[in-house]
Each structure stands twice: as C-alpha cells, then as structure tokens.
Amino acid sequence: MKLPVSAKYIPLLATALVLVGLYTLGCVSFDNFGSLRVLVNLVGDNAFLGVAAVGATFVILSGGIDLSVGAVVAFTSIFIASAVEKGMNPQLAILLALVLGALFGTGMGLLIRIFHLPPFLVTLAGMFLARGLGFVIAPQSVGITHPFFLEKISESLAIPLNDRVSIPFTATCYVVIFLLALFVAHYTRFGRFIYALGGDEQSATLMGLPVGRTKVLIYTVSGFCSALAGVIYTFYTQSGDPASCVGLELDAIAAVVIGGTLLSGGVGFMAGTLMGVLILGLIQTLITFKGDLNTWWTKIVIGMLVLAFILLQNFIANASARLKTAHK
C-alpha cells in the first residue's frame, strides 16, 4: 500500500551523481581542476546566479514562473552603477535597488493575484519593462570607480583561506542567502505554504491558508532575490550594463529543474538548487578549461540537461502513478 518514499528523492540523487561525475571528469581531464582556487571561484563566479535561483526555486515550488530575473539583475546593476557614479552613497544605492526589486516583484504578484493573469505573461511583460527601464537609466554600460566597490568589497571583505586563495565576498553573500532560504523553506509557515500552494492550490484555499497573500509575497521574494543577484553581479563585474544577463532566467530555472524541483510545483529542495547551480558552473568551467570549444556549447548542454531532468520527472510521475493504482 505504501509508495516508495524515495521516489521524491530520485531526481535529487541523480543531481548529486551528475555533480560528482562532472567534478571527477574535470579532475581526471585537467591538471589544476581539483585545486582549491577552482572550487572557490566556482562558488564566487556563480553567486549571482545562485541567488537568482533561490528566488526561482520559491516561485517554481509554488507552481509559478518568473521570467523577469535577468532583466531585473541588469536593471539593478545599471541602477547602482549610475547612482554611485553620480555621487550617491553606495550603501544607500544598494538599499534602494533592493527595495525597488522587491516592489517590482510585489507589483507582478499583485497583477497575478488580483486579475488572475498567467504568471508567465506578467513576468514576461515585467522582463521587457525592467530591460527597457535599464536602458532609460543609461544606454551603455557604466564602469564603477568608487572605492567602496573597488577596495572594500573586492579586497577587505574577502576571507583569506591561505596566502593565495581567498573566498570572495560574493561567495559569502551566496552562502548566507542560501542558508536563509533553507531556513525559510523548511522552518517558517510561509515556506510551508509555498509547498502547499504548489502541491494543490484548491486544497490550500479550502484549508484556509492565506493563498493570495502568499502568492504576492512569493513574487516579492523573487523580485528581491533578483535585485540581490543584481547587487552581487555589480560587485562581481564592478560595472553596470543594461544589456547584460539576457537569458539568466533560463539558467536560474535550469538550476532549479536540475536540482530536482518539480516544474509543476509542490516538490523540491533548496539544496538541490545549490547543486544545480554548481553543475551549471562546472559545465562552464569545463568548457573554459577545454579551450577549443565554442562557449555557446554551454547553453546547448544546459538545454539538454534540463530536458533530461524534465523527462526523468515525467517518467517518475508516470511510474509512481502506475505503482499507486497497482497497489490499490
């Protein structure tokens, strides 16, 4: 009568296998791949993607989708760069950007909630809006010369591991956000509401859960995460560019899916998303190490991996449905 509980964990297991496999492949193929520096850079270079993927995990868990991620990241970066270069206090600029991102998400959430518009459409419109507004602020990329970014962020706040390798501030940010997200997903009512909402919205409503408020809040969190990813991206590149991060939303969604979260919502793991982000980073690193491969292969490989995981999920869903009827 009982289903194998582990059905839920099969995709997560597959994710872990892919991660270990790719890392081993790298270590075997290239000399320096196993070094601490590569590992630290893997986290640091993908920190902004990781934070964006945290937001995407919440949205997808709830059964929704957010396509505005990349555009909001680009908007945030050009907003901060322009503001700081025009003389605004950097901390204030960052705070403003985060508030704007959260408000942007709230706006989209309200449209989805109040008018029952499909999330993909609202966030697609949001993507174009944010992208266009970025160009309104500055049509070209803006480099940052403020010492807060050049010295404080990139040097003082880095945590040295040994005399050659230190953990960049971006990586620290990612780890903190990840732990926070893990906590929210598993130890707060809001987090559990997200799972309930994605599991069965109608039931959640009949159980008296605050479905509407949760929905709006989810997109607020996603907007905030996108903006925070934008802040980290600005730290990382020391500049703002309205044309950057096109398609970042797919990478974020890809990380979530590869991390074993069900695209229809209700089942998923924050830790899986972390592994998904690392897998995407590893693919990028591998292709860079290889040197003679076109970088556009990255996108194609990611597409294939996403496809494989979607098919795996389909297969598991069908198999467990068969098992269920067979046991009745």
């Binding site: 289903l3 009512r189 069965d200 039931s203 409503t205 009949l206 159980m207 008296g208 605050p210 009827t325």
Partner: protein, 507 residues
C-alpha cells in the same frame, strides 16, 4: 435530546442565486449539539450550495445564519473555521506531497520565534489523530496512506482547527464497507462529545445507520426536517424525488424482452479489468439491446465505460467486437469502431463551451473523417439543424455558443454529436444528471427510440428507476466487481437495490 435545547446552528430563509439559477430559496436548516444531521436531496437539490454558504465558500444573498445564537457571516473557509465550522470534502482536500503532521497543522504550526517546531507539530498531529482513534507515522507523506486514512486525517485536521460543527460532504463515497464502519464509529464518538455533525450522502443505508435527523431539499427548496426513526425509507425517497410512492410507475417487462437476452452479441467483455478501475468484468451487450449498469458512486460504472471506450487501457482479459478480439488504445479507435460515449461530467469532459452548437455537433463526425475530408459549411448546417430538430434542442439557431445553453440542452447537444456519427454502441454515463424533468423525459424517450432502431446502448445511471425502466438487462456492480445480472421480470428498482446491498440475485 431535550426539545428545548438551544440549537447550535440555525439557518433561516437562506437564499442564494447564481446567474440564471436559483440554487437556494428561503431554506431553513437547524443543527443541534450532539446530533448527526443528514442533508438529503437529489442532484441539483442545493445541498452543496448550502454547504458552501455555511463554510464561507459562497456568500448568501439573504437570510440569517446563527451559530450558538450569534449571527455569523463567514467570508472565507478560514473565517468559517475560526467560527467553529470545519468541513471535510468528498475529494480529500489536503496536500499529498506534504507529511501527515504538516497536513493536520498547516496554517497553525507551532512556532517559536517564527520558527516551526517540527517535534511539537508531530506530537500535536498524533494527539489530533488520537481523537479519531488512529495511530500512524505522521512524518510520512500523506500520499503514502490509503484514501480511507486520508479521510480520517482530514477529519482530524478539521477537529484540530475548530470543534463546534463538523460538515462531512460525501465522506463515504470512496470507502469500502469496513472503512465506512470505522468512520461511523468515529462520528458516533464525536457526537458523544457534543459536536454538531452535518453529513451529506447519497447512501440511504448509511443515513439510517448514523443520522438522528434528516433535512430534505428539492430543487433549491426545503421539503422538511424529520426525525430519522420516524421517517420510513419509502417516504424519504418520495420526499426526495417529489412523488408519492403510488405514482411511481410499475415497470412492465413483457415476455418478449426476456428472450431478447439471446440476441446476437455486439460486444463481449471477458474477465476485463484494470487495477484501481474494475476487475474481472464479464459483460455482453447484444445488438439493439439496452444494458443498464447500476451500482453506487465509485462502484466501477464509469470505470467500465472508460475501459470500453479506450480511455483507460485494460490490464486483464479481452474484448470481443462482433466475435473478434479487439483492443482500443484511444477513444479515436473506439469511435472508428462505431462507439460513442457521453461522459458523466458533461461540462468538464463533454462540451466545448466556447464553440457553437453546430461545431459541437459535427466535432466527432469530423474527427472521424479526418481533418482533410472537411464537411462543407452547408453540410455542417444541415447536420446541425437536423439534430436540433430531431432531439429538440431549444435554441434560436445553430450558431449559439454551447456554454449559454442549459444543462439539459447541453446534454442533447452531446447526444446529437454522437448520433451524427451513427454509432453502433452508445454509452450513456448519467445522461440525466442535473437536468430538468422535461429534458430528462425527452432524453429517456430518445434512448428508447434509438434502441428500437437497433442501436446498442450501455446505460449508466444512479437513478435506479430509470435503469429499471429502460434496460432489458441490468448489470449490477459493487466495489469494482460485477455482483449480479438481472433480466426480464427480475428487473425492478427493489431487486437492483437488493443486489447492490448484497442480497445476491441472478448470476
């Protein structure tokens, strides 16, 4: 029960209408503490509307609603719960992927500094389950337990939320006999604790087994409130259908029909079955024969139809069509073989709401011909007009959208869709559910005339009177297994009911 006891729930003059429909008109309803009150009525009587107003899903148009003597107005299920009214629905409305403990405590999880205490939550869930005499591992996902246990978990949640009035909407429809008895034990225990319990169910036996009082609704109006022990079954039935027993026509099955059981078979099922659907089904439908399929909700009637029509694939047995083994892997193949199927839930599985009557009627015929052998506009109009007239669909024209038709007319459009394909076997699943009396009679007349023209019909209905009157043979199902077959003079409402209840009859 003291007569002067103040009622727990008092509803007076409740009215609720939807666009074009008066769902409830001036209905009174009273529930006392420590009683089980059955809410009875045929489909469309207004039971579910009443429940939904009570639990805050719908807002009433007028009337008063008092709980413990205080006027209440629940704006949402959550508000109703806060007032002390909680509901368990027929479909278990919980979250399958989450653990049992979470499902019981969701929305009220014990927290410290905003952080969920999983250990305390599990204890609380176990305590809630103890109230319904159940002990299980609350950390497992809900979906790993049977439907019956999920139902109990839902009740445990409802009790944990609030404990004045418990509404059970068709709680037994997917439970077996033993599970129903378990449920009733719990209900009796809760009644002893002073809860008011409202139960909505189709099953007459269960009403008499568990309820203290019965309120009967018909067509959105109150028929009356009765003490269960003082209301004979026959009278309850007549109150529900609105006819005195003497008015129920006695069914005459003449001698000729009994011998028609020897007809040449069109379709034979041998040991046909599928896990979770029906098992070991043996069924023969003769050419030009109406075979009735009777049984309670969830007994495997619709499931049998789905297997025959190629929606679900069988796992055992074989199907013979004209004596030759056949298997359909999709409705398309069944349709090509001359089968037709009007589903039980016509709004969800039947009509294409935003297309016209004409398009709905020609759809199946056109699909069978393929996209390229297109019916010309003129042919389409001719077919549509022909069937609108033949079946009596009341509409100003074939270009009206089907969504704007009444239930009865929508059902007629579906019949027209299939008649246009000139099927050999027509499967009708609850063709008269939720439609008005006039349309009902017309549809039943049509079934008879189709049979006279030589069409084979598999007739599924929960209205046993219809099954008894219109079928030459009745196959009775219980718990996904065929339990009897009645022919000729054996066919009567009473015999069907006996067979369903387990007093074996026929083979």
């Amino acid at each position: 029960m003291a007569a002067d006891q103040k009622p727990l729930l008092e509803i007076r003059g409740l009215t609720k209408s939807f666009p074009g429909v008066k769902a409830l008109q001036n209905v009174d309803f009273t529930v006392r503490r420590g009683e089980v009150h059955a809410l009875m009525g045929e489909n469309g009587a207004g039971k579910s509307t009443l429940i939904k107003v009570l639990t805050g899903v719908y807002q009433r148009d007028s009337g008063s609603l008092r709980l413990d003597g205080v006027e209440i107005n629940a704006a949402s299920p959550k508000a109703a719960e806060a007032l002390g009214i909680s509901t368990v629905y027929q479909e278990v409305n919980l979250i399958p992927h989450l653990s049992v403990a979470e499902n019981i405590c969701l929305g009220r999880q014990p927290t410290r500094f905003g952080m969920i205490r999983w250990g305390a939550m599990a204890k609380r869930a176990e305590a809630a389950l103890a109230r319904v005499d159940i002990k299980l591992d609350v950390t497992q996902p809900l979906s790993s337990y049977s439907i019956a246990l999920q139902q109990m978990i839902a009740i445990a949640r409802a009790l944990d939320v609030s404990g004045k009035l418990l509404v059970l909407d068709e709680p037994t429809s997917s439970l077996d006999e033993r599970e129903v008895e378990e449920l009733f034990k719990v209900i009796r225990k809760l009644r002893g604790e002073g809860l008011g319990i409202v139960i909505v169910t189709h099953f007459m036996d269960q009403v008499y087994a568990i309820s203290d009082r019965i309120t009967v609704l018909r067509d959105g109006q109150l028929v009356g409130e009765f003490e269960t022990v003082k209301l004979p079954r026959a009278e309850l039935v007549s109150k529900m259908i609105g006819k005195e027993l003497s008015q129920v026509p006695t069914v005459q099955h003449d001698e000729g029909q009994a011998s028609q059981a020897r007809r040449e078979p069109l379709l034979e099922l041998k040991n046909y079955g599928r896990a979770g659907s029906v098992t070991g089904m043996n069924l023969t439908i003769g050419k030009g024969e109406v075979v009735g399929l009777a049984g309670l909700l969830g007994s495997g009637r619709t499931e049998t139809a789905r297997l025959i029509f190629g929606i679900d694939k069988p796992q055992t047995g074989e199907m013979l069509l004209d004596g030759k083994p056949t298997q359909f892997s999709s409705p398309r193949e069944a349709i090509r073989a001359g089968f037709a199927f009007t589903p039980e839930n016509r709004k969800v599985d039947g009509i294409i709401p935003r297309l016209s009557i004409r398009e709905n009627i020609i759809l199946a015929l056109q699909a069978r011909r393929g996209a390229l052998k297109t019916l010309s506009q003129r042919e389409q109009e001719e077919i549509a007009d022909k069937y609108i007239k033949l079946i009596g669909i009341s509409t100003p024209g074939a270009e009206q959208l089907v969504m704007n038709l009444s239930g009865g007319n929508q059902q007629k459009v579906l019949l027209a869709r299939w008649l246009a394909t000139q099927p050999r076997l027509l499967i009708l699943d609850e063709p008269t559910r939720g439609i008005d009396v006039g349309a009902k009679a017309e549809i039943l007349k049509l079934v008879q005339s189709l049979q006279e023209q030589g069409m084979s019909i598999l007739f599924i209905s929960s209205e046993l009177e219809e099954v008894a009157r219109d079928s030459q043979r009745v196959v009775v199902l219980r718990d996904r297994v065929k339990v009897g077959e009645l022919t000729g003079e054996q066919i009567s409402e009473e015999n069907i009911m006996r067979t369903i209840a387990g007093h074996s009859h026929g083979s």
